[in-house]
Amino acid sequence: MKKTIIIKYGELSTKKDNINYFLKILKENIDSLLIWKHFINYDRGRMFVDVDDEYIDKTISVLKKTFGIHEIIVGFIDNEMDFDKICDNVLELIKEENFNTFKVICKRGNKKYPLNSMEISAKVGGYILKNRENIKVDVNNPEEKIYIEIRNDAVLYYLNGILGLGGYPVGTLGKGLLMLSGGIDSPVAGYLAIKRGVKISAIYFESPPHTSDFAKEKVKKLANVLASYSPNMNLYVINFTKIQEAILKNIPYEYLITIMRRMMYRISLKIANKGNFKILINGESIGQVASQTLTSMSVINKVVDIPVIRPVACFDKLEIIDIAKKIGTFDISTLPYEDCCTVFVPEHPVINPELEKCVLYEKLIPYEDLINEAIKNVNIIKIGKEEKYQDIL
């Protein structure tokens, strides 16, 4: 009997023809996240991850952050399928478990096995009762569920597992570009998109010297958290200073935010097209600020022709904060550094901007040139690959 980590797929099992594609990506994702020695084996029903015993805990904490997994179980696998051996193995499995009531649940994938699943459950249950004192069977509400799976070439044994994140394996649905600020909402939006299988990279607008390097570090940290769910992430850092100053100088104050957002959307679109990102993702939430009224959203959205997904559009702030806390971005987001959107905020931004006015005002600045220059100077940071001070630490 050998220890192994068993992965149950959740929603994936509803995919019929292309499940192999989903599983292949899931395996690749796990492969790239486990930086220690490991071996992954899978079929349509289960995935098995074998690592050295001292890495089991670490592996589980990685798998807990991997999308596409319904349940993670540390169990045992044995190639010997003899019924007496099964009974012995079950006793071994529950050796250190304390419970008063139990139930044996058997699944028999191997239909050639001489006993059916009901018979196995009953007989193993009887064997346990004979060998352990003071315990009872309770089929309705047992304290311990003991699982046995009869596969074609092996038997699996396990107790309850740990719930995974669910969702789809990252990358199975293509790539998206997240507009990441230092705030609370956009990292959550990124996380939710990742959950549906979108592999993300992020774009961040900085405005030095109005915004500091600490603000950029903060965004890098947020990106780092997201990268633990969506590996190999890039952060596109756009220097927005010239555009922002041009807007400040030439555009009426009440339209400042609207025009600024339109410029950000235009730049994001260009980066997305270049990098083959199918969608833009951002943390806009309906009604939260002036640029997030329905009219504002519609006027701003006019400059792009790819879908803009707003995963938190209909969430309350508190719901967003809950997720931010759960995924570990909240404490970073609340660090006190200014970002581009908060540096110059007019006192009374327009709530219902008019598209015609936007177009007219934008003629006052040579934005095409400024945008091209900003894109030419983009700084691409490979998240997770920065200096780790290996020589020092």
């Binding site: 500091s212 600490f214 001070y389 630490l393």
Partner: protein, 378 residues
């Protein structure tokens, strides 16, 4: 030179020294400054902290850098006392603690706290029933070291925690883990607060940290400015912190293999010294192999120490921090004053060689024989 006093302090390893010099030269900014140099330093500070947090499986905000274990012990004990005195003024410590714990307890006693001392059994294990009995409604803190510095007695922190929390869930559990880190595995989730020091694991003197679980509240005993952490304000000593982080990382590799090797050395010394009728080995099944305590009943330990000095053999009487006193631990285990007054501590490390041990045994025999014969001559 034969250095057998690794539990008093260790030399700084080459790798760690390299870090100190590099960081001192290349990271000149104050990690609290807002400019690029400050950011560079801050980034290193965060990476160093993250490395420690990952090793111990804790959060970065649960690490408070201190000048060493003594300062961490002060922050922990006084910090808990100040934060929770309204709930109670009762504190429990073991009889096997480092002298700094007793000194802090004396201070707390002076300002109105009540200190109880939990018993241990003949093998040095904390007496669980006694602990259970002593925990009261107003017990705010229990402090028990993970490994005792004089005899190397190791305590099962997990079981102790379970007992404490079962009796009074609000009682905070602190452990001085200085002698445990780098010698035996330590799980910080077994405690609420823990103190350690870099200079016992081939790191520099002057740095250590306090682990403070985010679930626990303590009152700061130092005040100042700086964002790095509120319990120990001021400019973080980056070269020392990076060195601490590196020393901890190196200390955790091959922990078990190293322990097994040191155990062989320990057994070798024990079997050589056991032959002398007037030498007793102060060792129980809970002693870790890195610390070997003996009592030489017919020679004063200081005399032995100074005589060995001439041969460049270095060890201590009980601990460097309690030199010249009676060994608390030997007293607590054997209740024999003479035995407690005559202790020598030989402390080993994985860098100790078999050759050094052989030489030591030879020199020890020579010195001991000559001291004995002088005594007999009188």
């Amino acid at each position: 030179m034969i250095y057998l006093d690794y539990s008093a302090t260790t030399p700084v390893s080459y790798e760690v020294f390299d870090t100190i010099s590099k960081v001192t030269k290349e990271f000149v900014g104050n990690a609290n400054s807002l400019h690029a140099l400050g950011l560079k330093s801050n980034n290193l500070l965060e990476s160093a902290t993250k490395q420690i947090a990952d090793i111990f499986n804790i959060n970065t905000n649960e690490i408070v850098y201190t000048s060493g274990a003594t300062e961490a012990n002060n922050m922990a004990l006084i910090g808990v006392a100040m934060a929770h005195h309204k709930k109670g003024k009762h504190i429990i410590v073991s009889k096997l603690e480092h002298p700094s714990i007793y000194a802090i307890c004396d201070y707390l006693k002076g300002i109105g706290f009540e200190i109880s001392y939990v018993n241990n059994d003949a093998e040095g294990l904390i007496d669980f029933d006694d602990l259970k009995k002593k925990i009261r409604e107003d017990t705010i803190l229990v402090s028990i070291c993970a490994v005792n510095s004089e005899m190397g007695l190791r305590q099962p922190l997990k079981i102790i925690r379970q007992i404490i929390k079962k009796e009074n869930v609000a009682t905070i559990f602190h452990s001085d883990i200085t002698q445990a880190v780098g010698k035996v595995p330590v799980n910080l989730h077994d405690v609420d607060l823990a103190s350690m020091s870099a200079h016992k694991i081939f790191g520099p003197k002057g740095i250590g940290f306090l682990y403070k679980s985010s679930m626990v509240r303590i009152t700061p005993i130092k005040y100042g400015s700086g964002k790095s952490n509120s319990l120990n304000p001021g400019t973080p000593p980056l070269p020392l912190i990076a060195a601490l982080s590196k020393a901890i990382r190196i200390s955790q590799t091959d922990l078990e293999k190293r322990e097994r090797f040191v155990n062989l050395l320990n057994e070798k010394i024990v079997s050589a010294l056991e032959k002398y009728p007037n030498i007793v080995i102060n060792k129980t099944k809970y002693s870790i192999p890195q610390i070997l305590n003996i009592s030489i009943m017919d020679v004063m330990p200081e005399v032995m120490l100074h005589a060995l000095d001439k041969y460049e053999v270095y060890l201590s009487t009980n601990t460097a921090c309690a030199s010249g006193e009676v060994s608390h631990s030997v007293m607590a285990i054997y209740n024999d004053l003479k035995r407690a007054k005559h202790t020598l501590r030989i402390s080993l490390s994985y860098v100790t060689t078999t050759e050094e041990v052989n030489k030591f045994i030879k020199i020890f025999a020579e010195v001991y024989d000559s001291l004995k014969s002088k005594k007999e001559g009188i």
